[in-house]
Symmetry: C2
Subunit: 287 residues, 2 copies
């Protein structure tokens, strides 16, 4: 650390801040339905998120070094998958990889993010599809007419991407109305930057701020990972009950236990928190 005019400036690299964001995200508790320090699923445990964050680092470092976003993301996912629980942080990495690229290029702002994601290429899209071969990710069936681009086809879909000249940005734009991570890609990472502001404005332990911001995001919009794994009705119930916690009408810890019991995991909201933590760390959030 360096102290400049009374302000502590961390010397963490961009890749280190991204890794720390993954670790702090899962350290926040309670985050109803998510794996956190005090709650886990039998087959998706806290320790898997630790190993995922360690394994993802080389891919995050690739993005920080200026490598294209798609291949950097694929490397991050491949490394993340080096633990026995499978998908721990796929969505968080899809948020973090472009943020890391933007940060190391001095463009970490909504307009900078918009430029970064619009610069992605067909090769980035191809790498994104290959990433699905490293890990099972819960996804919906594609809309009618888009079956050839089902992500579950992995690299088999690449010829279609090439034939249609689809960049990674194009692919994300196709899903923006049904996927909360893709929605960030087409909106200048609006909710991520909003989350970062709240994290920076907060006080006290960072992990507590992360769980507060998680609840605020959860109450604001239905979590699309819940829509995918359960249904929209469940996602809307979760949204209402997160608001009830904020209003003091429900207890966060009890809700966390109920959601874990019902296997309701608001994973997309957690991905946004990871992104918000990264931006906040880059902007001086002290741990």
């Amino acid at each position: 650390m360096v102290r400049i005019g009374g302000v502590t400036v961390t010397e963490r690299s961009v890749g280190q801040n991204a890794q720390l964001a993954l670790l702090l995200e899962v350290s926040g508790t309670p985050k109803p339905g998510n794996v956190d320090r005090e709650r886990e699923y039998d087959d998706l445990r806290f320790e898997h998120f630790m190993a995922g964050a360690v394994g993802a680092r080389p891919g995050l470092d690739r993005a920080a070094a200026g490598d294209p976003i798609g291949p950097a993301f694929e490397t991050a996912v491949e490394g993340m998958a080096g633990q026995s629980a499978g998908n721990t942080q796929f969505g968080a990495l899809l948020i973090l990889t472009p943020l890391v690229a933007a940060a190391s290029g001095g463009r970490l702002s909504p307009s900078g993010m918009d430029a970064v994601v619009r610069e992605t290429t067909v090769e980035d899209a191809a790498a994104f599809y290959r990433a699905f071969e490293h890990v099972d990710v819960a996804v919906d069936d594609p809309p009618d007419g888009l079956e050839p681009l089902d992500v579950r086809r992995g690299s088999n879909a690449i010829p279609v991407l090439r034939a249609r000249d689809l960049t990674l940005f194009d692919v994300m734009a196709e899903s923006a109305d049904v996927d909360g991570v893709a929605a960030e890609w087409v909106s200048g990472f609006e909710r991520v930057f909003e989350a970062s502001e709240r994290l920076l404005d907060g006080s006290g332990p960072v992990a507590d701020r992360a769980s507060d911001v998680f609840l605020e995001l959860l109450a604001a919009e239905p979590d699309t990972f819940i829509v995918t794994r359960q249904d929209r009705e469940t996602a809307e119930e979760v949204q209402r009950r997160a608001q009830a916690v904020l209003d003091g009408d429900e207890d966060a810890t009890k809700l966390a236990e109920e959601f874990v019991e019902r296997d309701i995991n608001p994973g997309t909201t957690a991905d946004l928190v990871a992104g918000g933590l990264f931006v906040a760390l880059e902007r001086g959030l002290e741990v």
Copy 2:
């Protein structure tokens, strides 16, 4: 991951395994008196250990790349200290750095460790003393006659090291009877390897195995960090009560709460667990 004959072989680098060992160590719960997932001190929180593990990585990577142990350790400590709580993993890094050097040189065994630490130089000792300038570490007053080598003198002690031609191994040997980490340096890392065997022989979540092994180590010998911060009587009480937990006569969680309340932190035992986790990961422990 690669599957060879049905066995999953992780592709994590040696530096990644060392970082993961730090993260898994603090993830184990309950570890009576230590910061863990469910207990922390106001000024020494779980999140500080996350940031410490992220910051320490470049130093661990230096050791893995074959850099001398002293400077690699100093780099690790400097990076670890890049969070607001000060000393989180100083002792764990003093255990891990030589283990990492040995592992990347294909010498991760008791006799290999003995060779690695005996190869340290006066310059390694100098870097070790400089490391104390990056962070406040709880240490005892030196024995009579060794005041010029008080680690709290930091780099001011370096001329004395040079004049007396003391290597880092020599420095550790001086403290081996009062410091559990130094004792590992002169014993071929006996307790670390023992811990790694128990971790590998165990079953279930790695974090649970880590807390079990922590209790076994705590019951076996007085924790020297407690001797330093409190006194030998307290360390012996802790040892007895850890045994009582193993015998089923005390509850681990209640004991954890009492120790945190009394600010009794068996930090040296945690350092040994971190070392044991690293060796176990290198030997195929799956997360």
